[in-house]
């Protein structure tokens, strides 16, 4: 394949796991990323793709008190984002605001808007209301799921409701359904669980083990994509969630993250611990293909779902984000702290 020399690189000082698209920034294509260092001063980098798309500029660099395990940008204010952090044995989650005058300050401090401190267990992720101005947030730890109401002006967040998934499930991550704001998917030890936020109850689940990543297809209702440790990527139709609609081979080792393109239906990006990012095209309509999907055969097939494999990474890739402003651009982050921006334009399906 093409290797990935076309990508634009950027190096963080330390190891890092998470990168997020700044959705609210309508003027530039920007990403937020945070480092994961146990012993050093951690940083949050605000990266901006130059207008020509040839350079990645560090627009802001802020120190963060702890190592960052999860990071998400707010969909309505480009200066607000959430992190999940750890001090080694404790976990916390907070909402931060990038200071107004950061251009002048040398190493500006982030303003803490609110702490999501109702958790007792290990927090996994914070999810923002999928789109538009709404002050609702979800945070998940291994057993509980919390719905928060965030008040930026008062700098406070309060728990609206919570529910426990039970000891055994040990939730690991999730996604908020963009088509139905009352539905949230959470990945657990042995299943993907679906919650109704109005009742705060579990309504449905897909019994499928070892799901690492989950993402809703923003273009198609009822379509969910999961990434698993050993068995690759599965596309599900939530109306008949017994059997996957489609199966993609995934990565040589674990498939860590999977993201649907916000604009082009069927374009899927996956990151794996085999130091590669794969670009897939999975047309959900072709259900007849699923019977014969496999790493070997699919390569031979005329319609190969694997469009490209970006392999220019030194370490496992954990962070992955599409740009919502330029939907053909994605950012990937490998564990060694290298951010790579790539354009998938050459692989876009001709419509």
């Amino acid at each position: 394949m093409q290797g990935g020399s076309s990508g634009i690189g950027y190096g963080l000082k330390y190891q890092a796991r998470c990168i997020a698209d700044v959705k609210a920034d309508t003027d530039y294509t920007s990403f937020l990323t945070g480092t994961l260092s146990l012993k050093e001063e951690n940083e949050v980098h605000l990266l901006r793709l130059s207008s020509g798309g040839s350079e990645l500029i560090c627009e802001g660099l802020f120190s963060h008190p702890n190592e960052i395990w999860d990071l998400a940008s707010s969909p309505f204010d480009q200066r607000i984002f959430s992190t999940v952090f750890s001090t080694g044995d404790t976990f916390g989650a907070a909402i931060w605001q990038i200071p107004e005058l950061y251009g002048q300050l040398n190493s500006p401090q982030l303003e803490r808007v609110a702490s999501l401190d109702a958790h007792v267990g290990k927090i996994n992720c914070v999810l923002w209301w999928p789109s538009g101005r709404c002050d609702k947030l979800i945070s998940m730890d291994e057993q509980n799921i919390f719905l928060w109401n965030l008040d930026c002006s008062k700098k406070s967040a309060e728990v609206l409701s919570k529910d426990s998934a039970g000891m055994l499930h040990s939730l690991s991550g999730g996604a908020w359904n963009p088509h139905d704001v009352n539905a949230v998917a959470a990945t657990g030890e042995s299943s993907v669980q679906f919650w109704d936020l109005r009742t705060m109850k579990k309504v449905n689940s897909i019994e499928h083990a070892h799901v690492r990543g989950v993402d809703y297809n923003p273009k198609r209702e009822h379509i969910l994509i999961t990434a698993e440790d050993e068995s690759g990527i599965h596309v599900w139709d939530l109306r008949k969630a017994k059997v996957p609609v489609q199966e993609l081979p995934g990565h040589t080792h674990w498939t860590w993250a999977v993201k649907c393109n916000p604009e082009y239906d069927g374009l899927i990006l996956s990151a794996g611990t085999d130091s590669a990012v794969n670009l897939w095209y999975a047309s959900a309509s072709s259900s007849d293909e699923k019977t014969s999907q496999s790493p070997v055969e699919s390569i031979r097939q005329r319609v190969n779902p694997l469009l490209n494999s970006y392999t220019d990474y030194e370490d496992s890739v954990y962070g992955l984000a599409w740009s919502s402003r330029e939907p053909w651009v994605f950012a990937s982050l490998s564990y060694d702290g290298r951010v790579v921006i790539e354009s998938v334009k050459p692989f876009l399906p001709r419509v």
Binding site: Y14, L38, E40, G88, S170, D229, H253, W254, V296
Partner: protein, 787 residues
């Protein structure tokens, strides 16, 4: 002679032309042959212009040619002249002889008129005399005639009075034909005078006739009578105006009922086939079923023949019957082959049916039985071929699954190997048998099979193609890689069944796919090329024929897929193990390591199992580990060496700041040759084991990265990894990669450690030795228990 004949002909032709031109009314007609080209230089043509010709001549030719032409022309003119003279002379001669003839005719005609008058007179006198004779004899003749008429009338009356008695006599002597003839002869008179003078006579004869009709009917129905007699009876009945149709219906119904007896019931079919087989020795004991059947059918066709003769208008009905019987035969045949039937048995039954059809076809050629049965036979043979293939597939999967049931209890024994060998054998044996069967089909020389030969070859080729395709699909279903359609409907069933599938089975299937690809398919294609080629292209119009290349590809893909699936399921199992290990303890508050953690044992045990399975099924790679034997001896030295190396690295990283440590590892990675962790899996024991180990170590690294460790936690990891090193290297071919991955795990742990202080080498060594001793003791215990 030939040279002389040509000018002679030439001359004769010219003569004829001249003559015809002379006599012909239209000169244009005569110029047929000689003057096709009507140009000027053709003298014989009508449009010949002498002046023009002359001009042309003078213009065209020189003097010599002109002279020559002159001489030639002069000669020709002379010739023509003599010819004409001859003609005139001949004509004159004929003219003279004609004049002579006319003169003679004139003299002969005198005196003819007198003779004629004499003749007339004589004839007149003859006539008058004959008239006289006639009138004198007239009266006598009239009298004689009257007498004769009376006598005839009397005879008739006598006949009618005699009729009842005569009929009775006929009944006694069973000459019904005569009786009917008499009766019909008397019929008109009886009709006219029956109510008056011959009343008694009529009644008596009618009674007699009724008896005759009754007798005739019984005769018609009795099977013992000869067909001719029955046919005659039918004809007589018809002559007597008895309603025959109802009789016919009754008879045909009876025939229909007899059809049931002629069926070859599926249960009996095998019996029939068997008996046919062993007929020679058991011949005397009893009538054989096949023989009985044949007789029955013969009787049936005879009856049909008879009825056809008796009732010519019943053909349609008979056709229907015959067709019904044929159709029934083939239906039963289909039922029969639903069970497992060998080609020989199949053919035997088929032959019987075909004989039946031929028998019936002789009687009723118009019923187009052979066409009907040819169609039915095609369907049946096609089904038979298809069914044979499905049986083969069933056999193979049965062989695989049969062993699977006992597998769990007897992993120690080489069950996998047995399964593999058995299914290989089933595959080879099955295809061989199938070829034998099909060869029998092809060798069969019943007319219908000869016709279908091309079709059969097509079906066989198609059958193999479909067979291999579905076999591959079944392999995948068996392995749980794809869920069968049934499971999709069931939904939940799929999840369960895939859990149940034994990993070893997947491996067996993978190896079996390779076997099919490399052995079975080439063999089959060879066989097909040898004895089943030359199928008409028409037969393949609908689907592709046997394409070994494509099938090989399919099975190649399947084998790789299955192998990958095997590794996946195996690593998944280990992954679960590792996940439990890393999720459960609180690594930040870990206690000091006291011994190697037991998950290492479980990990190694799983690997051992993989090794065992792999050893049973897969071939050994070309790469032989020479170190394997002495690695046990040098165990301690290698471990201590790497230990010191590691120690060195650790202390350094400890003393320096972690930031530079990260930088350092990056730098080290840059300079270290990038170790290829994920290489393609090959079908060898070593490759599979290595890949499994690599994937598991990578998983281990990833799990480590997700945790945060305190000093003791890190030390525990260090200890576990150190312990793993020796046994892993022993089992795996790619030592460099394993080293790299193990180091990576340590590095990952140190990166995620709050306080990196590695264990002192002596302590590490001591703990490992303790573990080794313990496991040895455990093994010994096990051995003593088992022995």
């Amino acid at each position: 002679m030939a040279t002389e004949a040509a000018p002679m002909d030439e001359k004769a032709k010219r003569m004829r032309d001249l003559l015809s031109s002379f006599y012909a009314p239209d000169p244009s007609i005569s110029t047929s042959g000689s003057s096709i080209s009507a140009s000027f230089d053709n003298i014989n043509s009508t449009s010949f212009d002498a002046d023009q010709y002359m001009d042309l001549m003078i213009k065209k030719s020189n003097l010599e040619v002109l002279l020559q032409r002159h001489v030639q022309m002069a000669a020709e003119i002379k010739n023509l002249d003599t010819d004409l003279q001859m003609l005139v002379y001949e004509n004159y001669n004929k003219f003279i002889s004609a004049t002579d003839t006319i003169k003679r005719m004139k003299s002969n005609i005198f005196g003819m008129e007198g003779n004629m008058d004499q003749l007339l007179q004589k004839i007149m006198s003859v006539q008058s005399r004959s008239d006289g004779v006639n009138t004198s004899l007239f009266e006598k003749r009239e009298h004689i005639e009257k007498l004769h008429r009376t006598r005839n009338l009397l005879r008739k009356v006598q006949f009618i009075y005699d009729l009842p008695a005569r009929l009775q006599k006929c009944i006694k002597s069973e000459t019904y034909g005569d009786a009917v003839r008499f009766y019909i002869g008397a019929m008109p008179i009886l009709k006219v005078y029956g109510d008056t003078s011959f009343q008694d006579c009529r009644r008596a004869s009618e009674e007699a006739i009724e008896i005759i009709i009754k007798n005739l009917q019984t005769k018609l129905f009795s099977d013992s009578e000869s067909i001719q007699a029955r046919a005659e009876a039918a004809v007589l009945l018809k002559q007597l105006d008895v309603p025959v149709d109802s009789l016919k219906d009754k008879l045909l119904e009876k025939l229909e009922q007899s059809l049931d007896g002629l069926q070859i019931k599926p249960e009996e079919a095998s019996l029939l086939a068997e008996h046919n087989d062993s007929s020679n020795d058991a011949e005397s004991n009893e009538q054989l079923p096949a023989k009985i059947h044949e007789d029955a059918v013969r009787g049936f066709s005879e009856a049909m023949r008879a009825y056809r003769e008796i009732f010519p208008d019943s053909e349609e009905r008979l056709f229907k019957l015959a067709r019904a019987l044929t159709a029934m035969h083939f239906e039963n045949m289909e039922l029969y082959i639903r069970k497992r039937v060998s080609a020989a048995d199949f053919l035997r039954i088929f032959r019987i049916i075909w004989e039946d059809v031929v028998l019936m076809d002789e009687v009723l050629p118009e019923a187009e039985l052979s066409d009907l049965s040819a169609e039915a036979a095609q369907v049946t043979v096609k089904k038979f071929v298809a069914r044979t293939f499905s049986h083969l597939q069933q056999d193979i999967s049965d062989t695989i699954l049969k062993f699977d049931i006992n597998q769990r209890e007897a992993v120690e024994e080489e069950v996998l190997k047995v399964v593999l060998e058995a299914s290989k054998k089933a595959g080879i044996q099955g295809t061989t048998d199938i070829f034998q069967d099909f060869r029998q089909l092809l060798d069969e020389n019943i007319g219908i099979f000869v016709k279908m030969k091309d079709l059969i070859i097509g079906w066989i080729q198609n059958g193999f193609q479909d067979f291999f395709r579905s076999l591959e699909a079944q392999f995948l279903v068996l392995s749980g890689k794809t869920s069968s359609s049934k499971d999709i409907e069931g939904g939940l069933v799929e999840g369960k069944s895939s859990d149940k599938i034994h990993a070893g089975l997947i491996l067996v299937l993978a190896q079996l796919s390779v076997f099919v690809e490399q052995k079975v398919i080439p063999r089959v294609s060879e066989e097909i090329a040898a004895s089943f080629s030359g199928g008409n292209s028409q037969a393949f119009e609908n689907g592709p024929a046997f394409i070994p290349g494509e099938l090989c590809r399919v099975f190649h893909a399947a084998s790789e897929k299955l192998l990958q699936h095997y590794i996946d399921t195996r690593t998944q199992k280990i992954s679960v193990l590792l996940r439990k290990r890393f999720k459960t303890p609180n690594w930040v508050k870990h206690k000091e390591p006291r011994e190697v953690h037991m998950y290492v044992d479980m990990f190694l045990h799983e690997l051992e199992e993989v090794g065992k399975e792999v050893k049973q099924v897969l071939p050994q790679g070309t790469f032989r580990k020479h170190k394997r034997t002495d690695s046990n001896g040098s165990n301690t030295t290698t471990s201590s060496r790497s230990n010191t190396l590691h120690n060195d690295k650790m202390t350094r990283s400890n003393s320096q700041r972690a930031r530079s440590q990260l930088f350092e590892t990056h730098l080290a990675k840059l300079f270290k040759q990038k170790v290829e962790i994920f290489t393609k899996v090959e079908f060898t024991q070593e490759s599979v084991v290595t890949t499994t180990v690599k994937l598991c170590l990578k998983s281990l690294q990833e799990y480590v990265r997700l945790q945060t460790f305190n000093r003791s936690g890190f030390q525990q990891i260090q200890l576990d990894i150190q312990f793993l090193k020796a046994p892993l290297k022993e089992t795996v071919e790619d030592e460099a990669a394993i080293d790299f991955l193990l180091d990576e795990v340590i590095v990952a742990a140190s990166e995620r450690c709050l306080d990196v202080i590695p264990l002192e080498p002596p302590i590490l060594d001591k703990l490992i030795q303790a573990k080794l001793a313990k496991s040895k003791e455990h093994n010994n215990n096990n051995n003593t228990v088992s022995s």
